[in-house]
Subunit: 252 residues, 2 copies
């Protein structure tokens, strides 16, 4: 891991750009923290870190206010990373199907998401190795948001991840439902009840599948981008419960 | 309304027993409050106030900590109130059906719940008239818990109720689904995902039916009595958002 940029943002948030091999990433740490802090991995859709940056920064600020570090890496075939044939093909097929209207066939979902999971998950684990070797980053580790299939796979294969927050709004291959039955860490699932691009029943089936002794589904009125502020706060509270108590509790 | 008992509980909670005609009730107010405070009506199942008292008191303490008054009244045919033939008949039918196992026929649900709603709702409204005429009780008013069909009817017919918290675990007549489409105040629905006695799909249908611009469904792992502590806190936060801000915010 190589730190490529470093800047201090307002609110005492240190932002470091890094590369892990040819994978770009960003790490945010609260400068107010003493000792080592828990870490939240910030998942995101495959739209490129640059486009996702404002939202990722907002989530990093929230994590930092809770005394947590936050980090993310670019997904394979996204942003400044080289395009990959399999992923481009899957993306093109999805675009054609959705433009034609109607439901997305399972084969199209699988062709897009499954190769992405296969490629991305080892990279997130390698990033975790590197991040946890930095001074001041100690764990426990949470994973939050992004492509659901990546979050589920990470929850199954990565024992250092102790809590997972998912946003039910992305395409979920049927195989991931089976995989979800092996997830045992606490899970918080956010569902926008009126999300036009989301199959509500598939989200409920996914929630049902998790084997976790503690799992919460929170559904709210509104479309994909209409997540209410109080729901975002509840995600923060979920991670505070499972990653440790902040030095200065926030009242909300 | 006649105040029949009055005692100061620890934590600065004033408990007053009252009767409204022949209906017994309880009012809890925080002695720390100055001026007039919002009010939460505490719904409960038709098991009698005496049996429900410990749980009602716990909910009243939580409301009081948020600076709210809380009040409840006995349901028709329950507790020390005279038995009523229609309600006794419905109760007996339900008992026979559930002891025999299998799903509860819609006709049995209707026969039990609909007369209860018809009888109870005017009483809760009369209690609200009386409670809001007391010094120090000002509103806004929330309704929380208890028989879902009563909460839904109150949300439709009682304009002074500005927020409703429901616990999806009681029998819901089909007619109530239609009535729910006329509910427009904010609604928070708590659902125990593995509730043996509850029809999960009926609860999801009910949530879907509410016309409220703001509605939240929170589902958690576990059976009817396994509501996690954080879910109870989220109900409190819901009422804090809609009934006003506490003088001293609680951090959770």
């Amino acid at each position: 891991m190589r730190i490529t940029t470093e800047r201090l943002l307002d609110g005492g948030l240190l932002e470091r750009g890094f590369t892990l091999g040819d994978i770009p990433g960003i790490l945010w740490t609260p400068t107010s923290a003493s000792g080592s802090v828990p870490l939240i991995l910030l998942g995101h859709p495959p739209l490129g870190l640059r486009q996702m940056y404002p939202r990722l920064l907002a989530r990093a600020r929230s994590a930092s206010a809770d005394g947590f570090a936050a980090a993310t890496i670019e997904l394979p075939g996204s942003g400044e990373r080289p395009r990959e044939d399999a992923l481009e093909q899957g993306r093109g097929d999805l675009l054609r199907v959705t433009q034609a209207g109607g439901p997305v066939p399972a084969a199209v979902v699988d062709a897009l998401i499954l190769p992405l999971v296969e490629r991305a998950v080892p990279e997130w684990r390698a990033a975790l190795d590197a991040l946890l070797s930095l001074p001041g980053i100690g764990g426990p580790v949470g994973y939050s948001g992004g492509v659901i299939a990546i979050g589920v796979r990470l929850a199954v294969v990565e024992p250092r991840i102790v809590a997972v927050g998912l946003f039910a709004g992305s395409l979920v291959p049927r195989a991931v439902l089976e995989e979800a039955r092996r997830v045992t860490v606490p899970v918080h699932v956010l569902l926008q009840w009126d999300d036009e691009g989301n199959d509500r029943q598939a989200s409920l089936d996914l929630f049902d599948a998790f084997a976790s002794a503690e799992k919460t589904l929170q559904a709210n009125t509104g479309g994909h981008t209409g997540v209410p502020e109080h729901a975002a706060h509840d995600v923060s509270r979920f991670f505070r419960r499972h990653l440790g108590r902040p030095a200065v509790p926030r009242s909300r």
